[in-house]
Symmetry: D2
Subunit: 332 residues, 4 copies
């Protein structure tokens, strides 16, 4: 439930109330301004009216959505995640670019240079690769993490890379600014719970056949375990269409933004799987209201060790950056 | 196959060649400039090299796609369909707006007025309604067609309405500037063939579980039967997502534009099924490169006799028109 | 709504009541024994309690499903459709076999002979073919209908063939015992309404992305227009699986049988699209409780002009018949 | 690639050849009889003809499928997994029954008794529960594992329970005869690799939007890491149908059995999500050729703490066992 406090409630009274509720065994989260969220699925077990009698409580509101911490009902204002001097979820676009897999220092640095030059804020590159086949390249592992940390720092970029298992987390948090969770792991609850115990922001990708509701419940796992810094990412779902690898569901952008206060970005590379569609769909993602986009690029796309078909060249990336900034400027 | 003519081929020689081919029993279509398309699925039955020996033929190219008349390979330049002074598929957006069902003169005229005022080119309204249930409102029929013809003319708008069966065509062509074929009828081949016998442009909506390829083959049915004026419309497909009525597949916009020369528009009303998502997805459609959009609006959306949940108000429509024009202007 | 009559209501009183209701403008259907179904979507417009005051009415029950005539609530007992001496929907399996397309007298007669020999009741064969491409074989048309009528009669089989448009119905009813409506036409409402005006039983195939509810509403269109003889057919839906052409949804068999009193059969040929899967899935269909199955066979499957990949040989058909009869016998 | 040995190759020569290949850095698996599979995705890097010159090698066959150890090409004969005196994948049905979640000793023991009495071989029960919401019951954990081990032993049943994370494996292997991997974890590659390091048989459920190919590649991860004991389970996929929770894809049963030598079972409880459909779909699963089935039952289904809607009663289970055994007996 949500407790709306009286307008004149001062800091100390608010803290006293939180402490009192916690002593009673409740989990309490400070939502916007004068709102305390009492969460934990307990709504059905307590007499909510009794909470109205607590000091400084003006009104009690039920929490109707199944996801509570992630709900816009709990926190009406947009969550802005600040990393270094970059704000994610605010008024500026957050652009993540880089290769699918980290292949070498040269390849990654070439990407970093181009990313920075054209205004991206973050560098991505896979060190651990989820591959359908055990016979395919599985990624460089920790040396890859070290490389992306070093090169991101050199170019003033935020480092983003995927973690596939809780056992990789202790190393990953040393090197990464943002930890990406891939579509296949969106409902890996053990991993989600471990992500709640760190403070590093998490880029949570939608499962390839998961609903908005399930994506929000997955974010809830991370938030309930203690990490409020979750960025949601629409990356396409499986449908009857076979021309594209996935169907980028841009409906998800405004829909999620109505349901949650968390930042929502789009991945037109995986969302299409087709190189020639990445640029127009990056524009469409921004026009739909995405807080940012994630794109795969490579110095020599055809030679990319993974996802070559959807990887764009540096020239296309430059054009993309120019075009999405024009679209962003045309939004109200 | 495609016959590339010699550069200096004059009009008479070209006509003579066409006549000769037709006498031989082939169907010939003048594609761009110096290209003749010889179609009919005959590629596998003839010795294509022999065609290179015909007078004025410089080169013979195989036609690789299954759809031939609709293929951009056959005709590289965009098809622009001209109705009155409006060009569809050209540099300007083509906006179709109006109620789901025509309910009354007052309702339709109110929509026409608002559509015109904010810059739409066409008025839509259903006279024949495909309804899942036989117990639901089935539309006004011919009186509805008369109404939309009269009101469109009064406001200088193009009239657009759906036809569900070949038996409705003789009446429909009297009243409509564009005949819409709904998702459920995309593969109604008898109807498609009849549409090929008229000249009225056809707005062909993608089936709710049809691929791009199938949509293009459906267009091919109409074109092969004689009507080249086909406008394709992405209107959302069925997916695992249940929050929205359909998943608007904007990948289809640039993908179809790469595959075909026909105009491609988007329908964010059916493509979302959720009123609050129509405006952002209209923006996204235009940013993806759509030649136009189709939106459902109503003087009193909640009272709309059909599709109320996805119908926008006049105020939202005005805002939408303003925003999509800004996005359009921001495109290269 | 449903009117439950008093136990001792005699024939004349019942007819009088029906007449009275019809005079009041209601559509009345005699359901099981002592039940009259008053249908037409009027439940929300009348005071249902008032009907309890009519003579011989014991109780008034609301009709809760959207499909009324097709609902098992309206008619609890199974509908058995009798053609010649064959009962469809009863205790015996109803087996339809034959080629995808009618190609020649020899081909069709060979199939008829084998079908009869191994215990099938019906011969199918396409005279009008719905083809994704206009360049593919479109069927023999009326001569094909004449052929299947003649050969079915000769072998004592029921003739089944597809109709794609209302304009083909007048000829079709002359030659066919059962008219098949294909997946693409399941929501062709103009055609469904025309089918309601004839008495020939209709084999209605589920659309490839249609729900059970939509299939039942399509049956309702036919029944409401006057033809109660509808056989439903599960033929596979489009899913994320690409190894098979469609995913045969056998859940539909028991689910539909709980929702409706109409016969429900399965088509493992289209439902798999893979020759080697037809036999085991025919067994599974019968084990799920299907009232019958429809299979495509051909004297020389690899040379079948359409659907060759899913067409079985005569030897496999013989084996299939033997195995499904064993499964049928093992059911309670 | 596959090395076909000469017919008269004796044991020592075969071992010498294996050793020689391993010294060269290849992974070698003894397939059927006289076949050695040399695996590791190396086919494109070596001159396969050279292997024909090795002593005792009669012929070299390419391995064409992406999954190698799981492929029926590598091992034509069915894999039979033996646990205690039960053979999985052989001529007898393997029936797993039990509650969704282990709730108490009484509940689990009641299920075990009924399972044993009616001929099931294994007892299932969730100790770790993957729940969409963090606010729902997460399972009893290790005490649940201890309970199922104790009760299975008492009733002579095989114990089956789900593991969600590699960190749970060390405890799980102490208590379980079969470790189940749920749909959400089918592509949790870190977990799959850990499962390869143990010998306990793994029941691998198909992801709810995964293809047959992806399921086989997931099995390949486990097998390549060293554990050949993998049982595949079809448990339904997400489709456009909403009446059922999932669409049980029984095409998968014969299709997988053609592609792989591993045992394949079906789960009609999750595959339907509807209690009244479990029994007929259990019959259909067996008729399709499944090596076994997995069903959820509960002493008081409506009170089941999870999956109540699809959980059957003891009475229905008894009926189901009787009916599936009759179907099994009717198979050739």
């Amino acid at each position: 439930m949500l407790l709306e406090l009286e307008n004149n409630t001062n800091y100390l009274d608010k803290q006293a109330l939180i402490e009192r509720l916690e002593t009673m065994g409740f989990r309490v989260v400070e939502s916007d301004a004068n709102i305390l969220a009492v969460i934990g699925g307990i709504d059905s077990w307590v007499v909510t009216e009794d909470f109205a009698k607590l000091p400084n409580v003006a009104k009690v509101h039920p929490l109707t959505s199944n996801f509570k911490l992630a709900s816009r009902q709990t926190k009406p204002s947009d969550t802005i995640i600040k990393i270094k001097d970059v704000e994610i979820g605010g008024k500026d676009l957050f652009i993540i670019a880089g290769p699918c897999s980290i292949e070498s220092r040269e390849q990654l640095e070439a990407c970093a240079k181009v990313a920075k030059e054209h205004g991206a804020q973050a560098l991505r590159g896979g060190a651990y690769k989820p591959r359908t086949s055990p016979y395919e390249f599985q990624g460089m592992g920790v040396p890859g993490l070290q490389l992306i940390a070093e090169i991101s720092a050199k170019y003033g970029l935020i480092s983003v890379s995927e973690v596939m298992d809780a056992s990789q987390l202790p190393e990953a948090v040393k090197y990464l600014d943002v930890i990406q969770i891939g579509a296949r792991n969106m409902q890996n609850y053990a991993l989600l719970t471990e992500l709640g115990k760190i403070k590093t922001p998490v880029l949570l990708k939608r499962g390839f056949a998961s609903t908005y509701h399930e994506l929000l419940m997955a974010a809830e796992y991370i938030m309930l375990a203690g990490n409020p810094n979750v960025i949601l990412c629409e990356r396409g779902i499986r449908t009857i269409e076979t021309f594209t690898r996935n169907t980028l569901d841009l409906n998800a952008i405004p829909a999620l933004q109505q349901l949650t206060h968390l930042p929502v970005i789009a991945d037109p590379s995986h969302g299409t799987g087709v190189r020639s569609l990445v640029l127009p769909m990056a524009r469409a993602s921004v026009a739909a209201g995405a807080h940012g986009i994630l794109v795969e690029m490579h110095p020599d796309p055809d030679k990319s060790i993974s996802d070559a078909k959807q990887t764009i060249s540096f020239a296309t990336f430059a054009d993309l950056m120019r075009q999405v900034q024009k679209i962003k400027a045309a939004l109200d």
